[in-house]
Symmetry: C2
Subunit: 272 residues, 2 copies
């Protein structure tokens, strides 16, 4: 079920700059009980992405109303929103009169076993690196070939996520998740300054940690720092939190910090 | 006029991975005398891009036949070919049964004054940098936000092209062109190893230089090396060669090497 600028259809003009250049943004939102979860946070990120790319913001009331109407069709699912700069002539230069396109689509919830969040997953390191770009870092734009190539590196179904480094060999994130680790009494995640997506679930976890007294540090770190962690987990808006119990032939427990944060997200994760 | 998989239509499915992730490739081809110019070279590059992204190749006879049929509609114009990985589920993982989409569109030839190729253009340096990715370097893929952002840096119509550096401050290319300079008796252009597009016109110029005894060097170079050049020019399949007569407050002549290579391209440029 797809809404394009408020109209039910499943196609977009060839001239759309999202198709031509990846000139746009997206949000992937969990649908829980027929409603878009963490709408406010997704809307905030979409806004900051639009500002960054200088794409006019969709009308928030219309967007929310369309999102609610679609989500009503599914108790549990995934809502994807794409906002592009709209149709423009051939060439990178932006048209003077930008009319953005907005696309909302409803998808089934992915069929992940419960064991992923309870017992954890196996991750690997990808060889595909994330390029550095301080302007694009953080925003969830439509240029995702790096993630596509990274995800194509493995087909083994026993591996659930691939961890990506940037061109400076800093550990940044999973192909579809943000990455955290805990060491001693502190939580760590990559600083999103030159590469990576500032995920909504990452933001929620950092906010919860801050308000509940768990020290959390955003910094740039190496593979060795990651591997010396006590606990590791990945997160996104759809899966919530998955502990990483194995990476690079090293086992990690589903540790107390990971469980604590899963509890904090409690109702949310249970409904997932 | 647009052909999608051989059918006249101007839209693509929302589920197409070109739209979702920029998961595809493109070629921009000059139409000269109702025919696609340098077809062989464009096809070669499309092939190498498909291999790099692991997208099944379009059938070459069908693609060429469609291209010829479209080009017949215009004595002079631009043919754009987009090949995407086709429709795939939500998520970066590639579907097992890939059915690529091919889109051919015919556009008017851009209205550039003759003075650009005769007297040269003014260029500027862009602040938007090209990220480094050894796998993606060279290929003309659909992730073009860096070029979109770079092209959005200026609106002054007196400036015709912006020159982009990579994250290591090497001079790589223009937003829509490759860049050459001549110094003493040698031609130089950026090595396309970590960033940049290996343009068809760049390839033709390097081949001509090699076969006609003009030493040509592909290397990574700094702004200072560029600015110390005797001559500078930009090139692509549509414009041929434009001398750069001004950049960073420095003037450059339309020099003998530039004119020589323009002559080599002779018939081609005249027909442009």
């Amino acid at each position: 079920m797809i809404l394009v600028n408020g109209e039910f259809r499943d196609y977009i003009e060839i001239a759309d700059r999202g198709f031509q250049y990846g000139d746009g943004l997206f949000e992937t939102i969990a649908v829980v009980g027929g409603k878009p979860a963490f709408w406010h946070q997704h809307w905030q990120r979409l806004q900051s992405g639009c500002r960054c790319l200088n794409i006019p913001l969709p009308n928030p009331e219309i967007l929310f109303s369309e999102a609610k109407n679609l989500c009503r069709q599914a108790d549990k699912g995934v809502l994807k929103i794409i906002v592009t700069r709209g149709a423009g002539g051939r060439g990178y230069r932006q048209p003077n009169d930008i009319v953005p396109n907005r696309v909302l689509s409803l998808h089934p919830f992915p069929d992940y076993p419960d064991s992923y969040k309870e017992k954890g997953i196996t991750a690997r390191f990808c060889t595909t690196r994330l390029g550095l770009n301080t302007v694009l870092a953080g925003i969830k734009h439509l240029n995702r070939l790096e993630q596509v190539l990274a995800r194509a590196e493995w087909t083994d179904p026993a591996i659930q996520e691939g961890i990506m480094l940037d061109n400076n060999a800093h550990v940044i994130e999973g192909t579809m998740t943000n990455l955290f680790y805990a060491k001693n009494d502190t939580l760590y995640t990559s600083a999103i300054v030159q590469a990576g997506i500032a995920g909504v679930m990452r933001h929620i976890i950092l906010s919860l940690s801050s308000s509940r007294g768990l020290p959390a540090v955003e910094h740039l770190y190496s593979i060795n720092e990651l591997l010396s962690a006590d606990e590791i987990f990945v997160c996104n808006s759809i899966i919530g939190i998955w502990p990483v119990n194995r990476i690079a032939d090293t086992d990690y427990p589903v540790g107390p910090k990971t469980k604590l944060i899963q509890q904090w997200l409690g109702g949310y994760n249970q409904e997932m």
